[in-house]
Every structure is written in structure tokens, then in C-alpha cells.
């Protein structure tokens, strides 16, 4: 029986270790007792975020980058030179979007891909691009360039929703991928 209690204590410890990424909006117990699936990324729920950030590209889920990345990206000065574009917007809207992104960032989320991203970016420089995350790079490194930047309908890995048919719902599962112009990419 003593051995069994050691096993149980280790299991509980494993769960608790994971709870270090506990979000402000959700509690550990809440997550534990919740049977809904959280293996992907939390979908965008803020209307302003969806509208403003979905204007030029797919509105990336905040759970794809840690809070400090969003804090750096979504400052008024930073938005004036947003990857070479001017993405300025009124200060109140930006504040709301900033706060929403920070509160739902990878390191505040219980969703699995977010937890992975949070764990991998806990130390080191602040990533500014999702496409620069080692996790995302690794997931795509087998894709030949002709399917991405050589693909008229994709152009860049940044356009997640071109290939991930359920990206709007935060779902990136391999089984939901369909690369435009390359129906047989899987072979």
C-alpha cells in the first residue's frame, strides 16, 4: 500500500506542476472537473480583437504567444510599425485588445498547445512572431517551400487559416489540414 500512495502522490504532483500555468479566469479545480476538450488553443472571444486584428490577416489566438509578447506587440508605438505596416487604431480599442490578449496569452491558458508554447518560451528572448516559435517551426519543417511561399494561395506560414481549415476555432490538428493547390500534401 505504501508504494501505491507514492504513485498517487506523484500523480497529484504532476497535475499540480501543470497548474503553474493557471489562468486568472479559470481555476485549477475548474479545469480539472471540466470535461470539455482543451487540447487546442482557446478560440477568440473578443469582438473588437476579432474585427481589428482580423482585418489584414487571420486573427491569431492570444494563446499562441506568451503575455510579454502581446504586451510588446500591442503598444501604441509598436502598432505604428507592425511588421512594416501601420496598424494604428484608437487608444481605447487598443487598450481593450491589449488587455484581452495579455489575459488570454499562452502562459495564462489551460489549453494544451498554449501550455506547450508557454513552457518553451518561459526563458529566453520575447518572441514577436508565432511563426518563429520553435514549436511552430518544428511542426512545419517537413513542408517543402513550394507549398508555402511558392504557393500563390498561401505565400507565408503566417497565414495559418489558408491550410488549417478550423483555425478560426483554434483547431490546428493534423487531421484538419488541407493545403491549397496541394491536395495530396500528406503523401
Amino acid at each position: 500500500m505504501k508504494n501505491n500512495s507514492i504513485v498517487l502522490v506523484s500523480l497529484t504532483a504532476a497535475l499540480l506542476v501543470n497548474s503553474t500555468h493557471a489562468g486568472a479566469e479559470e481555476s485549477f479545480i475548474g479545469w480539472l472537473l471540466d470535461f470539455s476538450r482543451t487540447k487546442e488553443v482557446k478560440p477568440v472571444t473578443d469582438k473588437h480583437y476579432q474585427e481589428e486584428c482580423g482585418e489584414c490577416h487571420f486573427a491569431y489566438q492570444p494563446g499562441l504567444l506568451p503575455a510579454r509578447s502581446w504586451d510588446r506587440l500591442l503598444k501604441a508605438e509598436a502598432m505604428r510599425d507592425h511588421f512594416g505596416d501601420n496598424a494604428e487604431m484608437d487608444i481605447d480599442t487598443l487598450k481593450e485588445i491589449h488587455d484581452y490578449a495579455v489575459e488570454n496569452a499562452a502562459d495564462k491558458s489551460y489549453y494544451k498547445r498554449s501550455r506547450k508554447i508557454a513552457a518553451a518560451t518561459a526563458d529566453g528572448p520575447t518572441p514577436l512572431r508565432i511563426t518563429e516559435l520553435h514549436y511552430i517551426q518544428r511542426k512545419h519543417h517537413e513542408l517543402p517551400e513550394k507549398m508555402i511561399k511558392g504557393n500563390r494561395s498561401v505565400k507565408s506560414l503566417s497565414y495559418c487559416d489558408k491550410c488549417h481549415t478550423q483555425a478560426d476555432d483554434g483547431v490546428y490538428d493534423n487531421d484538419t489540414v488541407s493545403i491549397p493547390n496541394y491536395p495530396d500534401w500528406d503523401d
Binding site: L8, N18, K39, F83, A119, H141, K149, L157, K162, T165
Partner: protein, 210 residues
């Protein structure tokens, strides 16, 4: 009893060794050609080596905004049903169901004070408890096998022990081992603890990446 304890200790040592190896691997850089730790991607010094990973030419001025990209909306895409990862999922959930069924299934009374007769042994071996237990362990092994096969690219030592996929794989494998151990002890020796621990490890593993 002696044997059971030494086996349990042996099992614990294996687990600890794996844990230690993973912790070690998260620090060591043993493959200079490839990034082995997530942070090394950002390491300025090595950065140029990782050009092959920069698939998307994000800096080119052509990929500016979505408007400039010709949109080919894919016809309504239906994810396939029979995929490897679905098989893994159903096997895992099935294992849990069988563990619960094993725990509640009727079993012949235990013989404490004397050696059981051949008839009693046969009854134990063919009880629904025994059959379900063996089925649960078999499914557990199949679950681990399909996990290794279809989720190989989710499991990286370099991510360390805090990575949910690594925790899932480790606990799942430990759970399957505990269940195999439990059926190897049954029916002569006590094995309820190991069986329950195996089921619990699998349950936690599923929850971590559910």
C-alpha cells in the same frame, strides 16, 4: 511479498532513470546540427544555422496583407474519421472504461487460509474480472503503441518534464506497465493497488492532453 516489493522498486528506479534522463536531455546539447533546446532557436550566435527552419519568407515585401493574396476557398473540408490519432484516442478512453469495468466486475471469493484447488484457480482465471483485466492491459499496450506511432512528433525530450505531451507519454507508459504488472501478479497475489494506480496514471495522462 518480497518479490512484489523488489519489482515495485525496480519499476520505480526505471521511472526515476527516465525522469533523470529527460531532465539531463533538456540541458545537454548533443546534436550540434539541430536545435535541441527551444531557446537555442533564439540564440543569436547559432541563429544563422537554422535558416532551413525559416520556411516562410516572412520578410519579403510581397506577403504584405491578406488582400493581396488570391483567395482559393477550399471546398468544405471534412476531417477524416479513421485517423491514427483518433484510434489512439478511442483506445485510451476504452482502456479507462475497461479499468473501471474490471474494478466493479464480480470475482470469485478469495481463498485466504489454504492453497486454492485447481477448480478454484480455474474459476478465478475465467472470471469476468480476470477477462476484463487482461483486456484492459491489452488495450493499454495498444494505446501506448498507437501513441508512439501517431504522435511521435509531439514527444521531444528537449522540451523537458513540464511539457504536457511528455507528461502524457510518460504517465501513459507508466500506467500500461503498472497494469501489466497487476495482471502478472493476479490471481495469487494482491494486485488491486497496482491496477488502480495504472488506471489512475492513464486517467491523468488523458486529462493532461484532453
Amino acid at each position: 511479498m518480497k518479490l512484489k516489493e523488489s519489482l515495485a522498486n525496480f519499476f520505480a528506479v526505471i521511472c526515476l532513470t527516465v525522469v533523470a534522463a529527460m531532465a539531463h536531455a533538456s540541458e545537454a546539447v548533443f546534436e550540434p546540427e539541430l536545435p535541441t533546446v527551444a531557446s537555442s532557436y533564439f540564440n543569436k550566435h547559432n541563429f544563422s544555422n537554422y535558416r532551413p527552419y525559416l520556411l516562410a519568407q516572412n520578410e519579403v515585401p510581397t506577403a504584405k496583407s491578406q488582400d493581396e493574396i488570391s483567395v482559393t476557398s477550399f471546398e468544405k473540408f471534412n476531417p477524416p474519421l479513421f485517423t491514427g490519432s483518433n484510434a489512439h484516442k478511442f483506445l485510451g478512453v476504452g482502456t479507462l472504461a475497461l479499468v473501471i469495468a474490471t474494478a466493479v466486475a464480480p470475482k470469485p471469493p478469495e481463498v485466504e487460509d489454504r492453497a486454492p484447488t485447481q477448480a478454484e484457480l480455474d474459476a478465478q482465471k475465467s472470471s469476468s474480472h480476470a477477462k476484463l483485466g487482461r483486456a484492459a492491459a491489452t488495450l493499454a499496450v495498444a494505446t501506448v503503441a498507437t501513441g508512439l506511432l501517431y504522435h511521435w512528433d509531439d514527444f521531444h525530450l528537449e522540451d523537458g518534464l513540464f511539457d504536457p505531451d511528455n507528461q502524457h507519454a510518460l504517465l501513459g507508459a507508466a500506467g500500461a506497465l503498472a497494469m501489466l504488472y497487476a495482471i502478472s501478479k493476479a490471481p495469487d497475489e494482491g494486485h488491486a493497488g497496482m491496477g488502480i494506480a495504472g488506471g489512475a496514471a492513464m486517467a491523468v495522462a488523458i486529462k493532461l492532453t484532453w
